[in-house]
Amino acid sequence: MVSEIIEGLRRAIGLIVSGDPAVLDATVRSLYISGAVTLFAVSWSLPLGMIIGSRSFLGKNLVKGFFNSMIGVPTVGLGLILYLLFSKSGPLGVLQLLYTPLAIVIGESVLVTPIMISFIVSAVENVDPEIKDLARTLGATESQANLAVLKEALPSVVLAVVAGFNRAIAELGIALMVGGNISGLTRVLTTSIALETTRGNFELAIALTMILSLIVFILSFITNALKRA
C-alpha cells in the first residue's frame, strides 16, 4: 500500500507538471466557482455583518446565534433541500438550474454566508466603539465613519472572506448533489477526487488533492503574511 501511495505521488506530480487536461479543467472550474461564491457571499455578508456587529437591536443575540449555528449545518442536508428546490418538479424547477455551475455557486453561497457573517460580526464587534465617534468628531459623515470601522476590522474581515473561499473550494456534498459531477460542466476538484478514488485512479485523485491542498495552503499563507504586515 505504501509503495502504491509513493507511486501515486510520483505519477500525480507527472500529471500536474504535464498539464493533464482533466486536472486543469477541474482546477480552473473549482477556482472560478469558489471565486464567484466568495464574491456573491461577500456582497451581502459584509453589509449584514457590519450592521449586526455595529448596532444594538432587539433580538441581536438571537440573530448572531442563528448564524453561528448555521455554520455547522450538514452540507448533505443543505444539498438535499437545494436539490428539491431546483429539481424539475420543485418550486424553482422552471429556472432549470439543477446540474449547472450556477446551482453550485448558489448552494455554496448559502453555505458560506453564515461563516462570513459570523466572522465579520465578531471582527466589527472587536473594533473599539470609540473609533466611530472618533471619526465623527473629525468631521466624518455616517458612511465615512462606518468605513473607518471597516478599515479597523479589515484584517479580520479578510480572514472571514478567505475562510469562506476555502470552505467553498473544499465543499463536496453540495457540488455533488446539485452539480451532478458532469465532466466538462460541473466537475470540480472535490467531486473529481471522490470519483477517481472510487474508480481506483489513485494517482489522479492524489494529484487533484495536492492541488486543492496547495490552493488552500497558499491562500492561508498570504492571509497570514498580510495580517502581520
Partner: protein, 350 residues
C-alpha cells in the same frame, strides 16, 4: 451674544439621568474648564456639544440661533473632541492626523503641511511613519491632540485630556491647549476632575455636580466659591501672577493687594497652595525668619473636633488652623485683628 449656549439640556440613558437641565454658556475665544467628579455628566455634556450625542430634551444655540437636528453635522465641521480614553486609528501617525483633513477635502499638499506643523507643536517631529498603536500612552494622546490641532477647529473640546498621564506629557498638553486658545483664538472647553488644572489653564470655570452646572465664574474667583467645597476641600488655593529677579525671591500677586513670597522660581500665571496648618497666627507682629507676614481680620470661626478653623481676610481670605486651646488662650473672635505668618517654602506651586 454667546458663541454656544446650552439651555436646560436633559440626557437620559434608559433610567439613568446623565444631564439634569444643564445650562452652559461659552463665549467666543473662551477657555472654559468644566470641573466635576467622575460621573457628574462632563463627558455627556462634551459629547452633546461635539454633536455625537443628541440631548433627550433642551435647546442648543449657536451664535444666538437655535439649532435643531442639523446641529450634529454643522458642529462636526467646526469642532472636534479629544477623548479621555486614548483612541487612535490602527494606522500611521501621519494617517491619523490626516484623517480629519481628508474628510474636510483638503488638498494633499495642504494636508502634509498641517500634519508637520501639528506634530511640531506637540513635540513629535519625525513621527509621521510610526504606527500610532505602538506609541506610548502619552505619545498617543499627543497624536490625538495633534489630530485636533491640524483641523484648526473654531471650537475644541477635551475630555480629561491629561488623566493618567505623566507630569511631563501633562505639561506639554496643557501648553498646547493654551497655545491653541491664545495664539489661534480657538474656543476651548476642557472637562477635568483636577482642580489644579483649572487654575493652570482656564480663563473661566464651571462646576458640574449631578448632571447640572451649579457654578460658573472667572477662574480668579472660582476657588473662592462656596459650592466648590462640595466637590473639593480647597483652602488657600490662589491664582496669581509670579515674577522674580535674578537673585531675588519669587513674588506672587494673588490680587486683593496681597503679594506672597515663594521659594520656587516661576514666572507668569501660577496656582499656589498653602496648607492651613503651615500658617502661624499671632496677635502682635513678631520678628521671625518667615518671609510672609500678612495683617487681617478674622471673618469666620468654625469648630472642628480638636481644632478651630479660622477664616482671615487679609485682602484675600486665608484659612488657618489652630488648636482649641490656642484659640481660647489668645482670646480670639470674629473681628479680631491678627497677623498670619508663613514661610516662603510653605507656599506650594500646583
Amino acid at each position: 451674544m454667546h458663541y454656544l449656549r446650552l439651555h436646560s439640556i436633559v440626557k437620559k440613558y434608559g433610567e439613568i439621568l446623565a444631564l439634569d437641565h444643564a445650562n452652559l454658556e461659552v463665549s467666543r475665544g473662551d477657555l472654559l474648564a468644566v470641573l466635576g467628579p467622575n460621573g457628574a455628566g462632563k463627558t455627556t455634556l462634551l459629547r452633546i456639544l461635539a454633536g455625537i450625542e443628541e440631548p433627550t430634551s433642551g435647546e442648543i444655540y449657536y451664535d444666538g440661533s437655535k439649532m435643531g437636528k442639523e446641529y450634529a453635522a454643522f458642529i462636526r465641521q467646526r469642532c472636534t473632541l479629544v477623548f479621555q480614553k486614548i483612541s487612535v486609528f490602527n494606522a500611521t501617525v501621519y494617517e491619523n492626523i490626516a484623517y480629519g483633513l481628508k474628510t474636510r477635502g483638503l488638498p494633499k499638499a495642504g494636508i502634509e503641511a498641517r500634519v508637520r506643523e501639528a506634530l511640531r507643536v506637540v513635540n513629535l517631529d519625525g513621527y509621521e511613519r510610526r504606527s500610532a498603536r505602538k506609541l506610548s500612552g502619552g505619545e498617543q494622546q499627543r497624536v490625538s491632540l495633534a489630530r485636533a490641532l491640524a483641523l484648526e477647529p473654531e471650537f475644541l473640546l477635551l475630555d480629561e485630556p491629561t488623566a493618567n498621564l505623566d507630569p511631563q506629557t501633562t505639561s506639554i498638553i496643557e501648553e498646547v491647549i493654551r497655545y491653541m486658545n491664545n495664539e489661534r483664538g480657538t474656543t476651548t472647553v476642557v472637562a477635568t476632575h483636577n482642580v489644579f488644572q483649572v487654575g493652570s489653564i482656564a480663563k473661566n470655570a464651571a462646576l458640574m455636580l449631578n448632571g447640572k452646572i451649579v457654578e460658573t465664574s472667572p477662574v480668579e474667583e472660582f476657588f473662592q466659591k462656596p459650592k466648590l467645597s462640595g466637590f473639593a476641600r480647597l483652602e488657600n488655593v490662589f491664582l496669581g501672577t509670579a515674577k522674580y529677579s535674578e537673585d531675588g525671591p519669587t513674588l506672587i500677586d494673588i490680587g486683593g493687594g496681597v503679594t506672597i513670597e515663594a521659594a520656587f522660581k516661576k514666572k507668569g500665571r501660577v496656582t499656589v497652595h498653602i496648607r492651613p496648618e503651615d500658617i502661624i497666627l499671632s496677635r502682635r507682629l513678631v520678628e521671625s525668619s518667615a518671609r510672609n507676614v500678612l495683617r487681617g481680620k478674622i471673618v469666620e470661626v468654625s469648630d472642628q473636633n480638636n481644632v478651630v478653623k479660622l477664616k482671615v481676610d487679609v485682602g484675600k481670605t486665608f484659612t488657618v488652623q489652630i488648636t482649641q486651646r490656642s484659640f481660647k488662650e489668645m482670646d480670639l473672635n470674629i473681628g479680631s485683628e491678627v497677623f498670619l505668618v508663613c514661610k516662603a517654602s510653605s507656599v506650594n506651586f500646583v
